[in-house]
Structure formats: C-alpha cells, structure tokens
C-alpha cells in the first residue's frame, strides 16, 4: 500500500485516476479516525461518518482540486494537514445535521460551572505570561488535561511542560504578591 508521503502531489492535482485511488487508500485511515472522533460527541450514525468522510474527499477534489492545491509540503506533513481539513469538514457536517450532545460525565467541570459574576477576578496584565505559558495553564486547569497530553500537543517534553507551568505560577504569585497592599 502506498504511504501518504509517497503520493505524487502534481499527478494528484492533475486528476490522474491511479494517483487519486492510491491517495484515497492512503488517506482513508486518518480521515476515518479524525471524522469519527469529531463526531463522537454528536449522536450520529455510521452513515453520517461515511458521509462526513466523503465530504472531505469531495472538498479535496472540488473545483479542479483547489483545496488540495493549497497544501504546502514544506510547512507540514500531508497527514497532519488532512487531519485538520477533515475535522473542519466533520464539525461542519455535524452542525448541519444535529445539535451536539455529550454525556455530562465527559464535560469538564469548568465548562459546566456557572460563573459567579459577583466575584471580581483579578486580571492578569498583558505581557506577564507568555502565550505559551497561558496556553499550558489553560490546558491544565480549564481543559483538565494531563501533562503528557499537553506535551504531545505542543511537541515538547513533559518536563518542559512542568517547568513552564512552574515558571508561570511563580510569575503570577510574584506579581500579585507585589500588588497586594
């Protein structure tokens, strides 16, 4: 079986049938996995999953492969780009068909919490934390993700996540301690 990295992109964008067939075979596993995962929070059938995957392929070859021609191999791998495109297509399809439903146990506590607007939160000043520090704190505390997941997301070591988290909290404590009268 041809790997995605072996697909001749010129031949694919030119619409050659053999290349397209090889591309479909190689791309189906990633598209299938992403679409299934994206639709898992929506109560959709197996046919909906197949339709969403077909929608991805239609998007790729529509208008003389216009979307496929936007892919730049110098910037990211084909499977990563396909995964991004597939997720967008699947979410669009799900929104068109049904409202999202998720078991309450799978929703993070923070998403269910009703914010008490009477409690005034202290605003983190701009520039106190880097974007990456803020992202790591959000993933840890708002999304309730573990360190390994965040490390996988950011393509860094778990130890780097821990140290970034530690430095961010030190900065926050330092800042608000100084600000206190």
């Amino acid at each position: 079986m041809t790997e995605l990295s072996q697909i001749d992109l010129r031949s694919l964008a030119a619409g050659h049938k053999r290349t397209w067939d090889a591309f479909v075979t190689a791309a189906s596993p990633v598209i299938n996995a992403v679409v299934r995962r994206a639709l898992s929070t929506y109560r959709l059938s197996e046919d909906d999953v197949l339709d969403a995957a077909q929608d991805v392929f239609v998007r790729l070859c529509a208008n003389d492969f216009r979307l496929l021609k936007t892919y730049d191999p110098a910037r990211a791998g084909l499977s990563t780009w396909l995964a991004v495109v597939s997720r967008s297509a699947a979410v669009d399809l799900a929104r068109r068909r049904r409202q999202a439903t998720a078991p309450i146990d799978e929703v993070p506590e923070s998403a269910l919490a009703v914010e008490d607007r009477h409690v005034e939160k202290l605003k983190i000043p701009d520039g106190l934390l880097t974007e990456r520090q803020t992202l790591i704190l959000k993933c840890l505390y708002d999304e309730e993700r573990d360190v390994a997941e965040i490390a996988q997301l950011l393509k860094i070591d778990a130890q780097t996540v821990r140290s970034t988290h530690h430095k961010a909290l030190l900065r926050l404590r330092e800042h608000f301690k100084e600000e206190a009268p």
């Binding site: 619409g15 050659h16 049938k17 053999r18 397209w20 067939d21 479909v24 189906s28 596993p29 990633v30 598209i31 299938n32 996995a33 992403v34 197949l50 995957a53 077909q54 392929f57 239609v58 070859c61 003389d64 892919y71 910037r75 990211a76 791998g77 499977s79 990563t80 780009w81 995964a83 991004v84 495109v85 967008s88 939160k121 202290l122 605003k123 983190i124 880097t130 974007e131 990456r132 803020t134 992202l135 959000k138 993933c139 840890l140 505390y141 999304e143 993700r145 997941e149 996988q152 997301l153 950011l154 393509k155 909290l169 926050l172 404590r173 608000f176 301690k177 600000e179 206190a180 009268p181």
Partner: protein, 178 residues
Amino acid sequence: MSTERIPLDDKALWQSLATAPPGALAAVSDMDFAAWLEGGLPEIEAARLDAAVTADPALRQAALELADILGKQLPAAPARMAVRAQALVGFPAERQTRRGWLAWLMPDFGQGAGLQRGALAAAAVVVAAVGFMMGGGISERYEEAVYASSSQSSSSTVVRPLGRDTTGELNDLFTDAT
C-alpha cells in the same frame, strides 16, 4: 487584596484570575494550524498560533483531539469509504467537465480510455492505407489485362491506353452492307 487572599493551590489561583478577554479571534488557516501542530513554526509565528489556540476554546479542543489522533497507530477505514471516494475522480462525466470540449480528441495518458482511443485511431489509419493500396493494385492489373487482350485481337490498330479499338468492327459492318 491581602497576600492571604492569594490561594495556595495552583488551580485555585489560576481560577481566581482572569486572562485578558479575547479580541476578535484571529483567523487561522488549515495550513498554519497543521504547521503549528507539527511544532515546525518559527517562534514569532508559533506565538501567534499559541495566542489563537489560547483564546479560542474550539480551536484548543481541535488541537488536543488532533494531537492525540496523530500520535497513534490508526485502524483501517471501512472499505466502503475508499470505494465511494475513489468514484469521485476518473469517470467520463467528471473528465468532460474537467477538460475542455476538444479534450476527447487528445490522448489522456495515464488513463486507460485515452490510450484505447489512440490505438483505435492508429488501427483505422493502417486499415485504410492497406485498403487503398490493395484497391490501386487490383485496378492496375485489370488495366494491364485489357491492354493485352486488345493488342492480340488487332495488332495493326494503335493501342490506346484505355478502352477498346472499334475501327475494325465498323469496317466489317460497312463491307457487309455493300
């Protein structure tokens, strides 16, 4: 605020603070997002994507899901999925819309039908050429046979390239009449 009000617990501290409200969410292209997911962006561009992912919970959810999927061995897709997708490219209706109105004249290399059309056209030319040559050869031989028969029947008459000399027959006719 007193220092005692700063929660000791990290999570409680974070939740007691408010990040800057997101302004208009920056548009992130699929290509940029894919590059960010692979961790291959330069620092400045990565920071822009970090900010976008931090500000947009939907984008953050997408990033976490995709990072999880891309790090795993993926199961095979259902056969129906590939069959349906393969049917999208390469059928005559699709080719006609994709190529111009003169496209049927041009061989489409890499696709079986184009080669087939070319081979058929070449075979038709060969058959026509052979037919023409055979036809020419037969008429030539027929002409030679006619010449031969006319020269035997009246050796004194001038041999004409085409047709039969009827001068002797006319002379005989008038002799009988007198």
